[in-house]
Symmetry: C3
Subunit: 280 residues, 3 copies
């Protein structure tokens, strides 16, 4: 079966940067199936790249080769790396872009791409996507082992990513991505949400968006009338704020990094305190 | 020969929605040739999706599998469907997006995609493109029959689309799409235009755009000087208003839904009346 | 090995123009590997198309078929052509879009695409990308020879492109492209730069951008602090002006066609004059 290679970059599609990466891969491994994840990561926004990669990997065959190039430090001391995990291969700069996938998939092997035999013959200081990462991905697709590609490394950069904060009253989540439809996607997974509800016996919480607007948690967009806001666990399994037939980010002036709260509806004090009070 | 699968959505390319659909297809049918029609249908604009699909289908092999996902009702009662026509297969929501292709190609078979065996194991309420339509397309590409995919249905949703209005004086057409160059494409086909001319003996009509501007019907853009407006039957076979080397939509503030008139130049009464008068 | 076909156009991705070209190619030569160079050349900007094609060709296999359609004269007397060079095939309108690649690669054969057998059965006056260039590329990918495709031609259109101007004091270069990151790429190659330095014994020149701002020539973006401007020889081998982590075009209001100067730092008179003076 042909190897699948995916590309995620901040290169945009106005230039020929992506086309040229594909040209390099086609030159070395024409039978690879090359798929664009996206090339419109905001310029140099490693955290968004990490998020978009993480929510996508599960839908590709095991052993796929994921190339991720959001690389403000290109040409500096930051290392070009290739990783083998329990799910897939990853190729790109060691700048934290693999932080999220490495939280979910076991790292089996990591190398610094220091074997020039698998690079283009001339390596520029500004376009490692073309000169290092694309040829390395093509060689992986042809079956080259990680040992061949470079020296083992043991420590990888990790991004300091926002975490949810939880107490009996609610969850503070952070918007990590605004999608094309203006849906504001947070870092709150359904699993963490259910854990909170079970831990504190929360029935039907509400979601508070900017400026104290409260919205209900629904199953799909059309559960509310057109133009009305809602929250739901979207296709990435994360809580998102949306407007049915509209654009939540524009409506509520939401931006990446903003807080979204999930709150218990009850105004009573917390269960444990209540119980204590009951014993008086 | 490998099956051709096309994708038309309003998902944009900023996110990884399209890449993930391709990942699902590559997982199930790596030998499929997957081609993007466009992913920049305006969000939730089913009519534009229907138009862009209709003008594209003829340029693909017979038996191609066209997936069209502009789906504001995702997760509601609207049915996910697969259609077999005399030309090609179509997969998507039953919300009218196939209205135009079904006016031109005979519907041979239609099923509601209610067999979960051909979906992803977990189906979200918000991304059927990934969870239902992509895997169904991949299974069709592998030769699965429509009977396998779901239960027969007999009635499909149709969009109420604008129609041309014709009389001896002219044709009122509607702008159905503004393309990247600012060309304003109407719903008037060359066939309907010729029928009108023959029926009423019209020699060389003019086209009236917004605010009474009259332009000539030409063969190609460069038939008028740079910066000058014109009308022509474009590559989709529909009448369009253009500016040579410019942007007609911006120049004339044209929008989808606006009227464009084709008018006879003569100010004389209609032929039949004329003939009656001649007999006096 | 499968043939590689690349597509470079100004068609954008909002419409289905590119998808339809791929449909035509898949109908005729499904085994071709089709790669988008870019479809976002500014509308009708032949010079930018020529530049982007030129900096990309070297990264594709020899014998690749490069289709370039920026074609304001579609449907007029301008000829549709196919070229065979020492590197690759080129297909598109004869309007100068191949000017730059023909400066670097030897032209071996050129034909006017006047054999309708290799076109679609109906050829529109406005979309030769679909009706002529895509099917011709597919036939080339299948091994059809240029003789079959049309009649030999001997003269091709060339664009009047900006040239660098060089004297002992410096080099005047022209910005030929602004990329997605706002980097302003000039027409000064590293080879021409080195020739100038050697000829006039220049040690470490500076680069002067709009409004007398002087920046240093660095190796990569991160050689200066974030937010600081610099110049470097970028991945295309041309001098470019950039801002580390920023957007040089926005910062300095740079546009295509603007001048960028490389200047010797010394304020002494030129060597030859100096020597003359010394003889007095």
């Amino acid at each position: 079966m042909s190897a699948v290679v995916t590309l995620l970059t901040d290169f945009g599609l106005e230039d020929t940067y992506v086309g040229v990466m594909r040209g390099v891969i086609a030159s070395l491994c024409p039978e690879a199936i090359v798929i664009d994840l996206t090339h419109q990561v905001p310029p140099q926004d490693i955290a968004t790249g990490a998020f978009l990669l993480d929510i996508s990997v599960d839908y590709f065959p095991e052993g796929a080769i994921h190339v991720a190039v959001v690389d403000p430090g290109v040409g500096t001391a930051r290392k070009p790396v290739a990783l083998r995990t329990s799910r897939a291969f990853f190729v790109g700069p060691d700048n934290g872009i693999f932080t999220l996938v490495l939280q979910r998939w076991k790292l089996l092997q990591a190398v610094c791409l220091d074997n020039p035999r698998y690079h283009l013959s001339e390596v520029s200081a500004t376009f490692h996507g073309r000169d290092i990462f694309a040829p390395v991905a093509a060689h992986l697709a042809r079956g080259t082992s990680l040992e061949e590609l470079g020296s083992p490394i043991t420590r990888l950069q990790r991004l300091p990513l926002p975490r949810i904060r939880v107490d009996w009253q609610g969850i503070r989540a952070t918007i990590v991505h605004i999608d094309r439809f203006g849906n504001a996607i947070t870092n709150l997974t359904r699993a963490d949400y259910e854990t909170w509800r079970n831990r504190w016996g929360v029935e039907e919480p509400v979601v508070e968006v900017a400026a104290k607007t409260q919205v209900e948690i629904c199953r799909t967009y059309a559960d509310v009338p057109r133009g009305q806001p809602l929250a739901l666990f979207g296709s990435s399994g994360r809580l998102e704020v949306a407007v049915n037939g509209g654009n939540a980010a524009q409506t509520f002036l939401l931006r990446r990094g903003d807080t979204v709260k999930v709150l218990r509806r009850e105004t009573t004090p917390p269960p444990r305190v209540q119980r204590t009070l009951g014993l008086e």
